[in-house]
Amino acid sequence: MANPNAHGAQHGHDSHGGGHSGSLKSYVIGFVLSIVLTVIPLVVVMNDMFSKQVNTLIILVMAILQFAVQLLFFMHIRDEEKPRFNLIALIFGLVIMLTIVAGSIWIMTYNAVAT
């Protein structure tokens, strides 16, 4: 490797997966948001604010938003160049992951053991 840094400077776009870019501002925003999104479900659950279903829904939505915050502000998924292989892979993975969870729940409701 003759001169790695020179190359690094020349091709600033090599951050295919990841967190090269981003500014302090975006990190701080992300951090604040993630705190808020953690406090909301806590408050909701600790005070038993709504019915069980509504509570569950709220905390799940908060978790998903939290995930989005991490992706956008910390993992910089937006900054990826085309073709967005990272994003495509992520979406595909999430779809399969959801299938695993939802499919298991669906199938296994009919085959629960006596408890």
Partner: protein, 662 residues
């Protein structure tokens, strides 16, 4: 003291059976022979530096292929033993215990230690050459994958002579596979053997996805990529998403057995059906993982030997990708009879059938590639042409199985056995054989003897139909799988005898292949050209066997079937595009290559040690093994000196030698 040793060894070694004694003796003899030969010819060093530590994808590919052929032999012998027993159960050739162990190891070995490594072998040999790259994305990881597979497979195989083989079926349903049902260590060998090799497979999946997406030669857009590489991509994406499920499932079973957890146990609230659900979420995609590359191979071969462009390229790509996608939505068709209700069954029946559509499209596209082509029939093409009828009939019986209410009658019967052997042998084995014959000259620089190859081909084919067609009928006669003996009133024997005859025909076919290889080596005739079949894709543009660095200059690609088009242009006297010429005439440069490394071998060996320790619950051994693994990881992390350059003059010399043969 002596008693203790005796007691231990009677548990440790499988004893008291002539079959196994024979195996132990022959394994010991083989080992001695290997060690002797290597020492006598002073080849230890060569073995270590040239092969065991190699990170060269071509060598790794060859090692995969050798291992898988050995495993084909082992799995095949298992099959023949089963067939003997089933032809004449009254002879009690195998007792129940042995029979159960043998179909279990047959299934595991054939799918995980034969089909998978054969597939990885072909990936390794072909993909970098086909996309114009110098190696895979992560050569070190690639070597690690191979050794993880290898030591995993060894750990599994060792159970035959040490401790006892697993005998709970190839997917080891609990509670049978729990401690309550299988108290022996066989099941632990199963878990660790598959787990270790599974991690290797997962890594290979990631490696090839990155290789294909990021390392194509300039100009090779995705939609110009050869179909085999596409099929590898779809297969590897499926591996990436399916294998973690296997890892977790086996891990949970391990926790049940080792730490007394209650995931799938009878008591403590465990639910064995959750295991079925999880294992098939991996198991179903797995069968498509192995068939998709075969589809890719057929696509390459059909186009080459029809001397015609692959018909419907875009449809083919779309079909591949949709098969890998849909393969994740069909798993419940393996347990329609679990009683999950009509909604579940109807949903999964329909998703299963959907796969017939893209698969059918592929079949039609192959047929129309041949249509108006100019077909010649060397062995690779023979296998391809034999594949089509075999596979579509197997696919059709698959669709019959997917009709959920009908599956209540087919499930676990020989109809099912016939279905999956038809797609696995007619699809996967025929496909990989086709690929092996096709790319053999690229690997070794010479073709395999055609005449003997044709004998093998016909024996395999006829043997296949004689063996498995009667099994459909046996299914309709109510014969269930995994029976080691049966009631003679049922009238199953005649067809079973026929089936066994067929199995032996396939055995003979295998012997022909061994002979074929030996013969071709003995009367070695090296090819003068790198382009053995008048090929269409980049791998044929370089010498055979490919030089260490593959491409002296990375080619620039302008079209699908780039090499073929180039040859056509030459015939027509046209000129290549300027960027192609520029790339070809650019001065040679030092080539950047990864250095060999012993870490993958040592790390996988450490996994083997740790796995063995877990199997016997020897804490010190687990400790040593895991320590080794961690040490290897850290050693790797601190290694910065991982690559080197091949100087220009060496490249020049190699090229001259290879091209000089023209």
């Amino acid at each position: 003291m002596w008693d203790k040793i005796k007691e231990f060894s009677s548990e440790f070694f499988v004893t008291g059976d002539p079959l196994i004694l024979g195996a132990q003796v022959s394994i010991a003899l083989t080992l001695v022979a290997i060690i002797f030969t290597l020492s006598y010819f002073k080849k230890w060093r060569w073995l270590w530096t040239e092969w065991l530590t190699s990170v060269d994808h071509k060598k790794i590919g060859i090692m995969y292929i050798i291992a898988s052929i050995l495993m084909l032999f082992r799995g095949g012998v298992d099959a023949l033993l089963m067939r003997v027993q089933l032809a004449a159960p009254e002879l009690e050739f195998l007792n129940a215990e042995h029979y159960n162990a043998i179909f279990t190891t047959h299934g595991v070995i054939m799918i995980l230690f034969m089909a998978m490594p054969l597939m990885f072998g072909l990936f390794n040999i072909v993909v970098p050459l086909q996309i114009g790259a110098r190696d895979v994305a992560f050569p070190f990881l690639n070597s690690l994958s191979f050794w993880m597979f290898f030591f995993g497979a060894m750990l599994f195989n060792v159970s035959f002579v040490i401790g006892g083989s697993p005998d709970a079926g190839w997917l080891a349903y609990p509670p049978l596979s729990e401690l309550s049902g299988s108290p022996g260590v066989g099941q632990d060998f199963y878990i660790w053997g598959i787990q270790i090799s599974g991690i290797g497979s997962l890594a290979t999946g990631i490696n090839f996805v990155v290789t294909i997406l990021k390392m194509r030669a300039p100009g090779m857009k995705l939609m110009k990529m050869p179909m085999f590489s596409w099929s590898v991509l779809s297969s590897c994406v499926t591996i990436m998403l399916a294998f973690p499920i296997l890892t977790v499932t086996l891990f949970l079973l391990f926790l049940d057995r080792y730490l007394g957890a209650h995931f799938f146990t009878l008591d403590g609230g465990g639910n064995p059906m959750m295991y079925l659900n999880l294992i098939w979420m991996w198991g179903h995609p797995e069968v498509y993982i192995v068939i998709l590359p075969a589809f890719g191979i057929f696509s390459e071969i059909v186009a080459t030997f029809a001397k015609k462009k692959l018909f419907g390229y875009k449809s083919m790509v779309f079909a591949l990708m949709s098969i890998s996608f849909f393969s994740f939505f069909t798993w419940a068709h393996h347990f329609f009879t679990m009683g999950s209700g009509a909604n579940v069954n109807a949903f999964f029946a329909v998703t299963t059938m959907i796969i017939a559509i893209p698969t059918g499209v592929k079949v039609f596209n192959w047929l129309f590639t041949m249509y108006r082509g100019k077909l010649s029939f060397p062995t690779p093409m023979l296998w391809t042409v034999a594949f089509i009828p075999c596979f579509i009939v197997g696919g059709m019986t698959g669709v019959m199985l997917s009709v959920a209410p009908a599956d209540f009658q087919f499930h676990n019967s020989y109809f099912l056995i016939a279905h999956f052997h038809q797609v696995l042998i007619g699809g996967v084995v025929f496909g990989y054989f086709a690929g092996l014959y096709y790319w053999w000259p690229k690997m070794f620089g010479f073709k395999l003897h055609e005449g003997l190859g044709k004998w093998a081909f016909w024996f395999w084919n006829i043997g296949f139909y004689v063996c498995f067609m009667p099994q459909y009928a046996l299914g309709f006669m109510g014969m269930t799988r995994r029976f080691n003996e049966y009631n003679f009133d049922m009238g199953w024997q005649p067809l079973n005898v026929v089936s066994t005859v067929g199995a032996f025909l396939m055995g003979i076919a295998f012997l022909f292949q061994v002979w074929q290889i030996a013969h071709s080596i003995k009367f070695l005739k090296m090819e003068k050209t790198g382009d053995s079949w008048n090929g269409r894709t980049l791998e044929w543009s370089i010498p055979s066997p490919a030089p260490h660095y593959n491409f002296a200059r990375i080619p620039v690609v302008t079209s699908q079937d780039d090499f073929w088009e180039k040859k056509q242009r030459k015939l027509r006297g046209e000129k290549d595009a300027p960027e192609v010429i520029a790339a070809e005439q650019a001065p040679l440069e030092p080539i950047h290559m990864p250095k060999n490394s012993g870490i993958p071998f040592i790390m996988s060996l450490s996994w083997f040690v740790a796995g063995f320790g877990f199997v016997w619950d020897w804490k010190w051994m687990i400790f040593v093994g895991m320590g080794g693994v961690i040490a290897c990881m850290l050693a790797r992390s601190f290694t910065y000196d991982t690559d080197y350059y091949i100087p220009v003059d060496e490249v020049q010399r190699t090229e001259a030698a290879a091209r000089g043969a023209h």
